[in-house]
Symmetry: C2
Subunit: 207 residues, 2 copies
Amino acid sequence: MGRADAANSGAISPPATERGRRTRQKLLEAATSEFGERGFHETSISEITRRAGVALGSFYTYFESKEAIFKALVREFSDGVRQAAATGIEDSRDSFEKERDALSAFLDFAREHKEIYRIIDEAEFVDPASYRAHYENTALRIHDRLKAGMVSGDFNKELEEAHAWAVMGMNVFLGLRYAVWARPEDDFEAIPEIARSILTNGLSAPD
Amino acid sequence: MGRADAANSGAISPPATERGRRTRQKLLEAATSEFGERGFHETSISEITRRAGVALGSFYTYFESKEAIFKALVREFSDGVRQAAATGIEDSRDSFEKERDALSAFLDFAREHKEIYRIIDEAEFVDPASYRAHYENTALRIHDRLKAGMVSGDFNKELEEAHAWAVMGMNVFLGLRYAVWARPEDDFEAIPEIARSILTNGLSAPD
């Protein structure tokens, strides 16, 4: 990308040094906490840098604005969800286990990063394109898994885009209830198996 | 409620006259459009009253603040979802059709009130208690339907709270995709039947 293009897109190159990468990471972690606690509008760049222990002026070496670091966070979380699911299904034995294990990995990820809901949900207002891209891309990946299960014979009906959105919605709301709004009496470990059972034979019959 | 209680809670009594009810309704409709288009933070009371064709001062006869009218709207939409589903399932013949018809009524409602997603989603930030109450109450109602289906014998396994959250998530995301983010090529009418099929025998076999 030429200099003029870089200026037009407002993109900042990734840090070239290990120290730069660490500083950028500290800023992202501080921003996660600040946006997670106060939301986008109530958070200022100076609060992010103070929390990160980084000089205010250095912020602009890494991000050009509060919107830019927010957008970077949405992308990081979206990537995190993708990677967690990909790792989670490495040992799954069939397509039903794949969906169970992908959900299980997502629930663990959401429990470890409780801010993910607030940040991705707030993107609907702060950065609508990233919000939509997150869900559209996630649905595409789920649909790819479902198509693979049709090829392998695990699924004996035509699974369309709507099936992928149904699976995604199930996962998102199980995460909201059991990772973010968890209650002490919940049986957290049982949730992925409940989802697997629904996808295996619906609500009607025991497995 | 005594005068002191009313003052403490900040509640404003519902309008006593038909004219008052119409004015309050006009304000709610204008607020729906304004919050839907610009979001909570960018909307002002004066824009709501201008759009409603109501004098600015009259606003405070009906709502004590921008937060109060927003909260009233979340309650109205939450009630609307409940009523749509209740009406939708009046003629359903079994528990699977009930879930299909409840979703169908919800999709129609969301297509007619596209602002519902933006407004309920923004409640997560503007009025978190209403946001959580909306989903917790909806999940309770779905769980009640599922329990009735266990009693009637349509469902042969123990359906827990998690099953209700899974069904709700499926419905919310099918609404997001096919009512709010609808595309011209979508087969909107086919969606409730896809959901019924998942709940009947999962992803594995044709009905």
